[in-house]
C-alpha cells in the first residue's frame, strides 16, 4: 500500500488549439500506477485515451499542447522537461506501443536496424552486443527463428508479428512504464490472447508498470489490476478492477459493462449506450454525459460534477452515482 508510485499524473490538461476552437482532449486527468501494476484505460473512440498516452511520453503534436498539470515518473516531473531530456527518457524510462501495428515500423528499414538503433540511442554498445540483445528480446515476445526475422523487412511480417516486434522494442531497455495503446485491437482473437498472456507475465517478472489503453472491457477484465474510465477527455470513474466491474458507480461505466456481450445474460438483447460521444469543441454545460444519461437530473445540466473520492483508490465523477441494488 505504501510503495511509491511509478507514475503519478495530476490534473493533466492537453488541449488542441484548432482553427475551430480549443479541443480539450485531456482535461483535468489524474491517476497513478504502482510498480508492476497494470492500469486499464477504457473509453469510447475519441475520449482522449491516445492523447493521454502521447502526453505521458511528450509526443503531443501541433496544434496540441500539454497546458497544465504534472506527470511524476518516480518523483521526477516530466512536464518540465525540455526536448533533450525527453529524448533521453523516451524508450529508456517510458516506452509506448502504438495502436496500429501496420504503421509503427518503418517500411524501408530492416528489423535489426530499427531495433539496434533503439538500443544505441541510449547506450554506448557495440552493434554485435546490441544485436544479441535484440535476438533475446524477440525470443521473449515469442518470435521463432529470431536471426532470420532480424534481417527481414516489416512487410514480411503479419500484423501480430509486427506488434510483437513493437512490444520487443518497447521492452529493450526494461522501462519503468509502458503505455500500450490498444495494441491488440487490430489482431485476431487467438493472437490477442497470446500477447495478453505474455505481457502480463513480463510485467510481473520485471516489475514494470503498464497502462493498457482499450475500448474493450472484456480484454481489460482479464488483464488489469486497476481501471480508469475516460469520457470526453475526463476520467469519470476509477478503482480496482473488481470493484469497478462488479459495482460500477458511474452511469457510463455501467452502460459500458452492460454492452459487453460475454457478460450479458444469454438471449437478452445486447445493450447499447444511446447517442454518441459529444464533440469536444463545444461540450454542453454541466455533465458531459448528460445527453446520454438515464440517471440525469436537473442539477446535472447546471454544473460539472467534480471527482468524489471514495476510499483510497476509488473515485467517481457524478452527482447521482449508481446505487448498487440497481445492478441486479
Amino acid at each position: 500500500m505504501n510503495t511509491p508510485n511509478t507514475l503519478t499524473v495530476k490534473n493533466l490538461k492537453t488541449h488542441f488549439f484548432t482553427k475551430a476552437g480549443v479541443v480539450k482532449a485531456v482535461d483535468d486527468v489524474s491517476f497513478s500506477v504502482k510498480p508492476g501494476e497494470i492500469l486499464g484505460l477504457v473509453g469510447e473512440s475519441g475520449s482522449g485515451k491516445t492523447v493521454t498516452g502521447f502526453s505521458l511520453i511528450g509526443l503531443v503534436d501541433e496544434p496540441g499542447r500539454v497546458v497544465g498539470g504534472s506527470i511524476l515518473l518516480n518523483g521526477d516531473d516530466l512536464a518540465r522537461k525540455n526536448e533533450k531530456q525527453w529524448r533521453e527518457l523516451r524508450g529508456k524510462k517510458i516506452a509506448m506501443i502504438f495502436q496500429d501495428p501496420m504503421m509503427t515500423l518503418n517500411p524501408v528499414l530492416r528489423i535489426d536496424t530499427q531495433m539496434i538503433e533503439a538500443i544505441q540511442a541510449h547506450e554506448k554498445i557495440s552493434k554485435q552486443a546490441a544485436r544479441e540483445r535484440c535476438r533475446e528480446a524477440l525470443v521473449r515476445v515469442g518470435i521463432a527463428s529470431p536471426d532470420e526475422r532480424l534481417t527481414s523487412y516489416p512487410h514480411q511480417f503479419s500484423g501480430g508479428m509486427r506488434q510483437r516486434v513493437a512490444i520487443a522494442i518497447a521492452l529493450l531497455h526494461e522501462p519503468d512504464l509502458i503505455i500500450a495503446d490498444e495494441p491488440t485491437t487490430a489482431l485476431d482473437v487467438t493472437i490477442q490472447a497470446q500477447i495478453l498472456y505474455e505481457v502480463r507475465k513480463l510485467c510481473s517478472e520485471t516489475g514494470m508498470s503498464l497502462i493498457w489503453v482499450t475500448h474493450d472491457l472484456a480484454v481489460i477484465s482479464g488483464l488489469a489490476d486497476r481501471i480508469a474510465v475516460m469520457y470526453a477527455g475526463r476520467i469519470v470513474e476509477q478503482g480496482s478492477i473488481d470493484e469497478v466491474l462488479d459495482a460500477p458507480l458511474h452511469p457510463y461505466t455501467k452502460g459500458l459493462i452492460e454492452s459487453v456481450p460475454s457478460r450479458n445474460k444469454r438471449g437478452a438483447k445486447l445493450y447499447q449506450i444511446p447517442g454518441m460521444t459529444p464533440s469536444l469543441l463545444n461540450l454542453p454545460a454541466g455533465c458531459a454525459f448528460s445527453s446520454r444519461c438515464s440517471a440525469k437530473q436537473s442539477d446535472c445540466l447546471v454544473a460539472t460534477p467534480e471527482i468524489t473520492q471514495l476510499g483510497e483508490e476509488r473515485q467517481v465523477r457524478c452527482f447521482h452515482p449508481v446505487k448498487q441494488e440497481e445492478m441486479a
Binding site: I57, L59, D61, R87, E88, L89, R90, G91, K92, A95, M96, F98, D100, M103, T104, L105, N106, P107, V108, L109, R110, T113, E117, A118, A121, H122, Y153, H155, Q156, A166, I169
Partner: protein
C-alpha cells in the same frame, strides 16, 4: 518485350512523320542544277522509292547498326550523333547533379519548417523556376553572370580530357567554368521539381506513425530525418528524377542552342533547319533507346530502394 514494341512504334512514327515535312531536295542540290542532276541526287539518296520501301531499307540497315547517312555531312548519322553525345550527356548529368544537390536540401528544409519565412521563399522560388521559360532565363543568366559580372564564359564548351574513352570537360577548370551556366539553366526546372517533391514527401512521411514511433524510441532528430525520413522520400525522388533524366536530354536542345553547346541537341536543331532527315530520324531513335535504358535503370534503382518491390520481384 514492351520496349521492343515501343521502339518499333516509334520508328514508324518518326520515319513517316519526318517524310511528311518539307522536301529535302531543295536543300541538297544547287539552285541552278538541271533536271538530270536533280534526279541523280534523288536516286542516290533513295528518295525515288515509295516511303514504305524507304522504311524497310531503313529498318534492315538499322539492324546492321546503320541509321542512314547525313544528307549534309555525307557521314554516318549515328557516328555524327555519337560524337556529340558526351557533351550532351555531360550537360544532362551536371544538371541532374545540381537538381539533387540544390533541390533536396531546400526541399527538406521547406518540408521540416513549413511555416518559416525562408521556407515560403523557397517555395515561391520554385514556382518561378517552373514558370519562367528556359530560354529567357538562359539569356538573362548570360547577361548577368557572363557579360555584367564576367564570372564565367558566355558560350561554348571548355577544354576536355578523356575519361574512360569519353571526352569530358567538367573536370578541367576551364571546362567547369563553361559548363556551370548551361547546366544550371537546364537544371532550373528540375531543381524546382525536386524541391516540391521532397517537400511533399517530407510533409507526408513526417506524419506517419513510424516517425512518431521512432521518436518514442528516443532517437535523435538527426537520425529520424537522415535515416527514417530520408530513405522514404528518396523513393519517389529517385524515381521521378530518373525518368526526368530523359527529358533533360531532350530539353537540352534549347539550352544547347542558347549557350552554343556542341551537343546532340544543337546538331538536331541544325538538322531540322536543313531538313537533314537521316540525322533527325537517327536522333529520335537514339532518344527512344535512351528512354528505354533509363526506364530500366530506374526500375532497378527503385527495387534497390524499396524492399517491398524487391521481395515481390524475388517471389515472382
Amino acid at each position: 518485350m514492351q520496349s521492343g514494341i515501343v521502339m518499333i512504334a516509334m520508328s514508324v512514327i518518326v520515319f513517316f512523320g519526318v517524310n511528311v515535312v518539307g522536301d529535302p531536295i531543295d536543300m541538297l542540290v544547287a539552285p541552278d542544277a538541271d533536271q538530270a542532276e536533280i534526279e541523280r541526287v534523288i536516286r542516290d539518296f533513295g528518295l525515288d522509292k515509295p516511303v514504305w520501301q524507304q522504311y524497310t531499307v531503313f529498318v534492315s540497315n538499322a539492324f546492321k547498326g546503320d541509321l542512314g547517312t547525313s544528307f549534309i555531312f555525307g557521314e554516318s548519322a549515328l557516328k555524327l550523333i555519337v560524337e556529340r553525345m558526351p557533351a550532351t550527356l555531360e550537360l544532362a548529368f551536371m544538371a541532374l547533379l545540381m537538381a539533387i544537390i540544390i533541390g533536396i536540401p531546400l526541399g527538406l528544409y521547406a518540408g521540416l519548417r513549413p511555416n518559416a519565412i525562408s521556407s515560403r521563399l523557397i517555395m515561391s522560388g520554385s514556382i518561378l523556376g517552373f514558370s519562367l521559360p528556359t530560354f529567357w532565363v538562359g539569356i538573362m543568366m548570360i547577361m548577368l553572370f557572363a557579360v555584367m559580372l564576367d564570372w564565367v564564359p558566355a558560350t561554348g564548351r571548355g577544354d576536355t580530357i578523356s575519361v574512360l574513352g569519353m571526352q569530358v570537360s567538367f573536370l578541367t577548370a576551364d571546362g567547369f567554368s563553361h559548363i556551370v551556366l548551361p547546366a544550371l539553366n537546364l537544371a532550373l526546372l528540375k531543381i524546382s521539381l525536386v524541391i516540391r517533391l521532397t517537400r511533399a514527401g517530407v510533409r507526408e512521411v513526417m506524419h506517419m506513425d513510424f516517425i512518431k514511433f521512432a521518436r518514442a524510441k528516443g532517437l535523435s532528430a538527426n537520425r529520424i530525418v537522415m535515416v527514417h525520413l530520408f530513405k522514404n522520400i528518396m523513393i519517389p525522388v529517385v524515381t521521378v528524377l530518373g525518368l526526368e533524366f530523359g527529358s533533360l536530354i531532350a530539353f537540352s536542345v534549347v539550352t544547347e542552342t542558347i549557350f552554343a553547346w556542341p551537343g546532340m541537341g544543337k546538331l538536331l536543331i541544325d538538322a531540322i533547319q536543313q531538313l537533314d532527315r537521316p540525322i533527325i530520324v537517327a536522333y529520335l531513335m537514339i532518344i527512344v533507346v535512351l528512354f528505354v535504358v533509363i526506364n530500366l535503370i530506374v526500375d532497378i534503382l527503385y527495387s534497390i530502394l524499396d524492399p517491398r518491390v524487391r521481395l515481390q520481384d524475388a517471389a515472382n
